[in-house]
Amino acid sequence: MPLQKDQVTHRNGGTAVQPQKNRLITALMRRHVARTMLLPLLTKLTYQHTFPQQKYKYSFSPIVVPSETLFAVLSRARARKKNPRQHRLVPPPSPSAMANPATGRSFLQAMTSVEEVAPPLRVVQMEGLAVLKIIKHCKEFSPALVTGQLLGLDVGSVLEVTNCFPFPTREEDEELEADGANYQLEMMRCLREVNVDNNTVGWYQSTLLGSFQTAELIETFMNYQENIRRCVCIIYDPSRSNQGVVALKALRLSDSFMDLYRSNNFNGEKLREKKLSWVNVFEEIPIKVSNSALISAFMTELEPDSPVTQCDFDRLKLSSAPFMERNLEFLIECMDDLTAEQNKFQYYYRNLSRQQAQQQVWLQKRRQENMQRKAAGEEPLPEEDPSNPIFKPIVEPSRLDSYLITNQISNYCNQVNGAAGQGFSKLYLMKALHEN
C-alpha cells in the first residue's frame, strides 16, 4: 500500500514509535524491490560501459587497490584465517592454477578467470566517507526508514564499499518506475564522470531498533543476487546511536538458504536435510573501516585527541529506560506473531492427522469391499482413489515467516542483553562514586 507521510503516528506527541512499523517496513521494501527490478538494466549499463574502464581502474587509479596484482589478491585470500562458519561452495583457487605470470595471458583473461573461482566473502571494508554518508542520511530522516545504494569494488574476499548515494523517498507508487530508474541512472552516470567506482555492491537501509528481517529483504536480496555476484546489505540503526554505539551491520543471505529459497520449498524435511535452522538464514559479516591517507591526515590535524567526546557522554547516560521499553514493546509484538505462526502449524498438523485417519478408514472399507468382490469373483477395486477429496494433499505452511520472526526476536533479545549489561556497569559506577 502506498505510504502516506501522516501514517507515521506519534503517540503522546512524543518519542513513541508508530504501531504499524511492520506495514511501514513492508511498504518501503516493496518500493525498494520494485526499484531493484531495474538492476539488470543498470548493471548491464555499468558493466558494458565501465568494464573496460575498470581494467584501467585497477592499474592506474590511485584509490582502488591499484598495485595489487593477481598474486597479492590470491595470497591474501589464502592467508586469511579460516572462518569455520562460512559455507564454502567453491574451493579456494589452487596455487598452480593462477600463479603463472609468464604464460602471457592478458589482464582481462586473468580477471575473468578469477571471477569463476571466488573465495568466500570474509569482510566488508567501508570507507569513512560511506559510513558518514549513511549515518547522515539515516539520521536526517529518522524515524522514517530510508534506503540507498552502495557503490564499491569486489576484490578477492573483501568487499570494498567506497561510496554510496541515497534513494529519494517516494510518496505515490505511480511515479516510482520511471522516476526511480532515471534517478539511479543519472546518479551512476554522474558519479562515473568523476571517477567514483560505480559498481553496485549492495544497498543500505535504516531500521528501527533492529526490526529489519522481513520477507521483502529476502526478495531484494534474491533480486540483487541474480545480477551481482556478491552483494551485501548494510543495516544502520539510528536509534541506537543515542547510546553511543555505531550500529552498523553487514548482512548477507547464507548460500544454503538461497538455494532453498529458489526451490521455494520450506518443508520440515527439506530444512532438516540441509540442517538449516533460523540462525543460518542471515550471515553477518564483520565490517572494517578504512580511510585514505589524506583524510586521516586532515582529521588528525583538525581534531586533536580530546580526552572526552560526545560519544562518551552518550554512553554514560544513566537513563536506558526508554530504549528498553521500546525494545520490549517490539519483542511482545513479535512474540504475538510467533504464536500466530505456531498456531498455524498446529492447525496444519491436526488437519493432517485427521486426514490420515480418514484415509485409513476409507482404505479399510475398500479392502473389505475388495475381499467381498474377490469372494464374488469380480475385479478388485483400486486401493487408491485420487478423486476423493480426503486424499488431497494438504499444503504445509511455509516456515519462512517463522524463521524471520525468530530472527527478529533474537535480535531484540540481544539488544536487551547488551543494554542491560551496559546498565549494570553504569549503575555500579554510580554506586562507587556515591560511596566516595
Binding site: 566517507l129 561510496n163 555505531v246 582529521m299 590535524e301 581534531e303 560519544c311
Partner: protein, 290 residues
C-alpha cells in the same frame, strides 16, 4: 588592500566594503570527507577539484554546509570551463532526496584564492545570493591543514567592476557527527572492527577514569603547592562535585537496588525468550507425522 582612491569627478568613487560580513559558516564532516575523496580521485591532468556546496541558511546568517558534490571542470592558464549541465543534473538529483538542501556556495582544493576562482564565484553568485567559497588545502602548504571559507564582495569603480574581494568568514568546524561515530574510526587508515556496545563502554569508562585521575593529581599538586592553583579550574571542579545529587544512603540504596532488579529481570526475560525460541524451533522441524 585596496586604497579608497577617489577620482577627479565626484560621481565615480571606488567602493570598498570595509565592514566585516556578518555571515559565518558551519561545516559537517561529510563534506570534508567528500572533498578529500574527490581530490584523491581526480583525473590526472587536473590540479584541483571544484564542486558545489549544499546546505541551508539559518535566520541569523549562519550557513550550514551539509552536503557537496564534485563538478568536472577544465582549467587552463586563462580559461576556466565548468560543466554546468552536470552541476544542474546533480543538483536536481540531490533535491529529490532532500528538498531542503539548497546551493550555498562552492569549494575548491588548493591554497588561497586564484584568478580563475573569481570567475567561478561569479557563476555561483548567479545561482545563489551570497555564495560561500570554501578552500580546502589538500597540499598542506605551510605544513598545516587549512580550511577557510570566504565570501566575496565586489570592488566597483562607478559602474565598472574592478575586482572581487574575498573576505574570510569564521568557519565552525565542530565535527559533532564524527565525534559520535568515533574518531578512532575516522582517523586511522584502517580500523579492524567497529566496537560493539560493551567494548565502547569499557573505553568510555577508561577515559573517565583517566580524567578523574588527572583531576585528582591536579588537586593534589595545588594543595602541596607544586602548582599554582587556578581559581577558574577550582570553581569548575567544585561545580562538578556539587552536581552529584545528594541522596541519603538508604534512598540511594533503594533506587540502586530497584534499578539492578529491573535490569536483572530483563536479562532473565530475554534468556527465557531465547530458550523458548530454540524449543519452538525443535518442535517445529522435528515433529513429523506420517
Amino acid at each position: 588592500m585596496a586604497t579608497a582612491a577617489a577620482t577627479s569627478s565626484k560621481q565615480t568613487v571606488l567602493q570598498y566594503p570595509g565592514a566585516a560580513p556578518s555571515v559565518s559558516a558551519r561545516i559537517h564532516p561529510v563534506v570534508l570527507f567528500n572533498i578529500c575523496d574527490a581530490f584523491v580521485r581526480r583525473p590526472d591532468q587536473a590540479g584541483r577539484v571544484i564542486g558545489t556546496l549544499l546546505g541551508s541558511t539559518s535566520s541569523d546568517g549562519t550557513v550550514e554546509i551539509k552536503n557537496s558534490y564534485v563538478v568536472p571542470h577544465n582549467e587552463s592558464a586563462d580559461q576556466v570551463a565548468l560543466d554546468i549541465d552536470y552541476h544542474h543534473n546533480m543538483f536536481v538529483s540531490h533535491q529529490k532526496v532532500n528538498p531542503k538542501e539548497v546551493i550555498v556556495g562552492w569549494f575548491s582544493t588548493g591554497f588561497g584564492v586564484s584568478g580563475g576562482s573569481s570567475l567561478i564565484h561569479e557563476f555561483y553568485s548567479r545561482e545563489v545570493q551570497n555564495p560561500i567559497h570554501l578552500t580546502v588545502d589538500s597540499g598542506f602548504t605551510n605544513g598545516e591543514a587549512s580550511i577557510k571559507a570566504y565570501v566575496s564582495a565586489s570592488l566597483t569603480l562607478g559602474d565598472r567592476q574592478l575586482a572581487a574581494h574575498f573576505q574570510e568568514i569564521p568557519l565552525d568546524m565542530r565535527l559533532i557527527e564524527a565525534e559520535r561515530v568515533g574518531f578512532d574510526l575516522l582517523k586511522n587508515t584502517s580500523v579492524d572492527k567497529i566496537p560493539n556496545d560493551l567494548e565502547g563502554m569499557e573505553s568510555s569508562m577508561e577515559r573517565l577514569y583517566t580524567l578523574i585521575n588527572d583531576v585528582y593529581k591536579y588537586v593534589d599538586d595545588v594543595v602541596e603547592g607544586r602548582v599554582q592553583g587556578d581559581n577558574n579550574i577550582g570553581r569548575f571542579i567544585a561545580e562538578a562535585l556539587a552536581s552529584l545529587p545528594k541522596l541519603s544512603p538508604t534512598a540511594f540504596d533503594k533506587v540502586f537496588n530497584d534499578k539492578i532488579q529491573d535490569n536483572l529481570s530483563l536479562v532473565y526475560l530475554s534468556s527465557l525468550t531465547r530458550t523458548q525460541l530454540s524449543i519452538a524451533e525443535k518442535l517445529n522441524t522435528a515433529a513429523q507425522i506420517l
